[in-house]
Point group: C2
């Protein structure tokens, strides 16, 4: 792939496949949902650009935040002024990426007190009988309803975007750790030894006019470590424990005290609030519940305990807190600007190097920000939501 044709790109999945390239116009580092979307949109806007997408693991990385992202689109999460972008993201998710298990699903944001646009929770439960056993309407008598929220699988979106990017001519290099260098990237192609150690099989220096750093929570560290560019971004370790209370396609999303209950696989995935970034050097560890070690970090346990009266199933054995950290899915989440409610961003690090960060609002706005960076790199002024 050296020109602007629409032939499919090449894929190097393992070190047995020889990689001998030395120059690209654009290298996108990271095949999570932000990087794959940026690669796909960029190849569509500028088919003449030779583009390589590099990923440390598979597509998408099973250790990254994309796989564990909630996949909850809701207008309640859209910051003022970003409504059109969010609406475009919702339509794209529903329409453009094949089967990403997209499903319109109401979201009930439950409150203890009355507020603007709140309706009595008891009235709503008549329309959502599946939610009745999940909450105590006396504790949470008011609800803000988003009838047009939706759920989907972010991992499926990343897979569709990555495959789509290859289909329109992007090259894809998997199992490769990329380091940022002046004017390009250094690629460590990884392999697994007989003793199950991951080692570098070979190293390439690659020139690239533009590099997009889409490494999730690792991106700001790479910017500082590899390029010496200090950023204000942070990260937080978020776990998403499971609640084995029955759910169906008709069960609404519930949110209370910042905790979201997302119907999934016949039960619920719990998405706890993020209160602030974690300090540098923090190693996640399990907490204790009445003296017994569990796999959920302490701060998340406190949030769950606080809600046990209002959401009674949390106080039952349906809540899977595990025995050690490995029992509960969790991932590092980027916090743009070090804050918890900042939308996804892209940011110029040095000449030709852009940082692309998803973070807590990537479900609702990530595709739009990836699209915006792609358009900027392609020199295109129009945005699809305008």
């Amino acid at each position: 792939m050296t020109g602007g044709t629409q032939e499919a790109g090449r894929v190097w999945a393992h070190v047995g496949q020889a990689f001998a390239e030395w120059e690209y116009d654009v290298v996108v580092v990271g095949a999570g949902r932000m990087g794959t979307a940026c690669a796909l949109f960029l190849r569509r806007l500028a088919p003449g650009l030779r583009l390589l997408l590099v990923e440390r693991g598979g597509l998408p990385n099973e250790e990254g935040a994309t796989i564990l992202a909630p996949g909850v689109w809701t207008a309640l999460d859209v910051p003022p002024g970003r409504e059109r972008e969010a609406a475009w993201v919702r339509a794209a998710l529903e329409r453009d990426f094949g089967d990403v298990t997209f499903q319109t699903r109401a979201l009930l944001e439950l409150h203890a007190g009355e507020g603007e646009g709140h309706v009595p929770t008891a009235d709503l439960l008549a329309h959502f009988p599946e939610a009745a056993g999940l909450l105590d309407p006396a504790a949470l008598p008011w609800t803000r309803l988003d009838g047009e929220a939706a759920t989907y699988r972010p991992g499926a979106v990343a897979l569709a975007c990555g495959q789509g990017a290859v289909r329109v001519g992007a090259d894809l290099l998997l199992n490769t750790h990329a380091h940022l260098t002046p004017g390009g990237v250094r690629l460590d192609r990884l392999t697994v030894t007989n003793t199950h150690q991951i080692v570098t099989h070979e190293t390439h220096e690659l020139r690239a006019g533009v590099v997009v750093v889409a490494m999730g929570a690792d991106g700001p560290h790479a910017a500082e470590h590899d390029l010496g560019v200090h950023t204000a971004h942070g990260r937080a370790y978020r776990q998403t424990p499971r609640l084995n209370t029955a759910s169906s396609d008709r069960t609404p999303l519930l949110r209370a005290g910042g905790l979201t209950l997302r119907p999934q696989h016949g039960g619920f995935t719990l998405i706890p609030p993020i209160h602030h970034r974690d300090p540098h050097g923090y190693l996640p560890g399990g907490g204790r519940l009445t003296g017994v070690p569990v796999g959920v970090r302490r701060e998340t346990l406190e949030d769950l305990i606080r809600l046990m009266d209002a959401l009674p199933p949390l106080a039952t054995e349906a809540l899977e807190v595990g025995h050690s950290l490995a029992d509960v899915p969790g991932a590092w989440l980027a916090l743009p600007g070090g804050r918890t409610e900042t939308p996804p961003v892209h940011q110029r690090l040095t000449d030709g190097v852009h940082l692309l960060l998803g973070g807590p609002l990537a479900d609702t706005l990530g595709l739009a920000v990836a699209s915006d960076l792609a358009a900027q790199i392609a020199g295109v002024r129009e945005r699809p939501w305008e």
Copy 2:
């Protein structure tokens, strides 16, 4: 000491001094500034109560937050409605505890933008020439002035309160680790072995009608571990690096971006802002400055770097960041309610057991809250600031 006389109490400093008591009316655990003040006020209000003050280290504990507390009283830190208490604390600090190096000293809170009560920084610098070299008035052109702020040594206050409490009849047991038990405390009297290990020499079970848990940031953990009472309090590790730029008795306190520069020992002690609690299990560690390991944690480094343009001495060798964590003084600070701007509090844990927490605003309100708890235990309705 078994009655209500005004004879001095007894002091057990080491395990060579036999301790054979088995019952007190009140045991105060922790001889930091909150515990010692509570003990002193309580003995004054209720001289009939047999009171024991227990401390794990010396008086005050050299590892605790009291010794490293800034000792900055300022009306700018007083929450609405707490003005009379704060004024009483200021007067008490100036008058009641002997030489605590109390000194009225202006505080200049520097801002980039105009706001209510702000005056031009350049105008103020004419009155505070000592501050001129410390800041760039172009970066921080507006100032909110507290002309009646004050500095003092919290460690000296704790020492004076502890000694004062003994003088009016409180007993004092040092080098003793107290555990909360139903109806009292278990005391582990500590000693040091030939090989410099700290070990328990002997254990006592003590009955007490009232226990005051004044263990600083360790208090909430003791409440949960010993009593099974979960609290919402948090903690944060705060370091106070030194800035070796000359200061004198006339140098004002400066504050910018949440960082306070406190003139001390001919230079400055830096008191960084606390943005949020640290997660459970966090172990403080040094950060890196342009790749070089330093003794200041990463979050504090970021705060200092952000202010280097506005406060130029921070960008010089006058800033002591050390090489490892041990080079920079630091202590765990209690955060009442898990938040950073909550005043000191006392809270009933179970029958007869009270938690007493200082935290970030203890310099301005700590004595009042200790006094309030003492009055409550003594059954006295009046408060000295009313």
